[in-house]
Amino acid sequence: MSDAPYSVAFDRASVRFPGSAAPALENLSLQVAAGELLAVVGASGSGKSTLLRCLNRLVELSEGRVCIDGREIGEFDLGALRRSIGYAIQGVGLFAHLTVAENLALVPETLGWPRERTNARVDELLAAVRLEPTIYRNRRPRELSGGQAQRIGIARALVAYPRLLLLDEPFGAVDPILRPHLQAELLAVLREARTTTLFVTHDVDEALLLGNRIAVMRDGRLQTIGTPRALLEDPPDAFTAELLCGDELLHRYRLARLDERGRRL
């Protein structure tokens, strides 16, 4: 049913946008193992989103290479590559003229799934993001709250068993009170989905909670990358220390939460 998750490798990748002096990505190398969940943190404009968008080729590299499963990304058929990658962004981008079910069915339809299989999968995912299928299947995006729309956006990214999942601040527009709830839910859904995930956020606690590893971006460069524990216990540089650890109290709180997460997993 589902194909094996992709592994991803950036090799000295740079992206320059015409008309802007500073590169959006500069000489960036990193690997993401199949099945890993990499959280990408950094200030806005640090190149986090650009990093994701290189993978579904919404952005093309100026230099360097991006490989998926060891093959350079340009060798893949663009449509097939994109259909095998789930993508959800802040503000979701659900299509207003389609119902929830129709939004979710866009890729399965293209893949030629039989209608019953698509319907069953749509219901399965709605249930997974805890939206009762019989109620929400035929709603239109304007009839959803922000949090509901966000979950549908993630469900749409997951519907066709993606081999790679790109989430760009998926909870950026969600009420802070609702966020922990959605994060826990996402974690459960991802564990089920068993795919490789790159997750962009500017919320450090979200990154610490979700990531197997965390990549810290700064001005288009990869500042550092490591496991949450390694980066928290022994931050390799002052920038990372300030971003991840905060003051002493916050640092201790975050370490404690990490222990708690370790016990839960």
């Binding site: 579904n56 919404l58 663009l78 449509g79 097939a80 590559l81 994109r82 259909r83 095998s84 990658i85 993508y87 962004i89 503000g91 981008g93 299509f95 207003a96 003229h97 389609l98 866009l106 890729v107 339809e109 293209t110 239109r140 304007r142």
Partner: protein
């Protein structure tokens, strides 16, 4: 009178349908390719600026008197409004929406039909409305070159100094135009409610 009314409606409906069948697919294919879209827009715009009586005269010279000439003129005029408004409608779709559509990996034509067309529908409909109203007016003029629409009644009434015929024909055209306007406005209103 009734047969002229029916003929008028047919002339316009066929013209708008043919023009839409040409202009909408071309606009969908070319909206993202300004290098090809711009010359076509310019060509259609140039056709549109040719005075209608002059265009009819030229067509009569090559095609002869009658409905065929009128029909060709109607199509040529309708193309411009439909093409331009479809292109504008597609370009007005927010960039993020188009990007999400691209990231889903839908093949081009599926994306255009499932995403671009519905999102651009209000603009496409307003193009069709303008084309329809233009056709209703122009088809009247077609009576002058042997077209069988309401214009034939108007021009005959004019020639015979028959005021009743003249008014009947004119009122028919006005009623059609109002009906067309109303029908399209209603459709546009429905699509905008989404």
């Amino acid at each position: 009178m009734i047969s002229a009314l029916v003929a008028h409606v047919l002339l316009c409906a066929v013209a708008v349908a043919i023009a839409a069948a040409i202009a909408i697919p071309s606009a969908l294919a070319l909206a993202e390719r300004p290098r090809f879209e711009r010359p076509l827009s310019a060509l259609l715009g140039a056709l549109y600026t040719v005075p209608s009586l002059a265009l009819l005269a030229v067509l009569v010279r090559f095609v002869g008197l009658g409905n065929t000439s009128v029909e060709i003129a109607l199509v040529l005029y309708a193309l411009y409004a439909i093409f331009r408004s479809t292109v504008a409608g597609i370009r007005a779709i927010p960039a993020e929406q188009r990007e999400v559509a691209a990231a889903l990996g839908l093949p081009d034509w599926r994306r255009r039909l499932r995403v671009d067309v519905p999102l651009a529908m209000p603009a496409i409909l307003s193009g069709l409305r303008i084309a329809t109203l233009g056709s209703i007016a122009l088809a009247t003029l077609g009576g002058y070159v042997g077209g069988s629409g309401l214009g034939s009644i108007v021009f005959t009434g004019f020639a015979l100094q028959n005021r009743t015929m003249l008014v009947e024909g004119a009122l028919g055209v006005v009623a059609l135009a109002l009906l067309g306007e109303f029908a399209f406005r209603a459709l546009e209103f429905r699509t905008q409610r989404l």
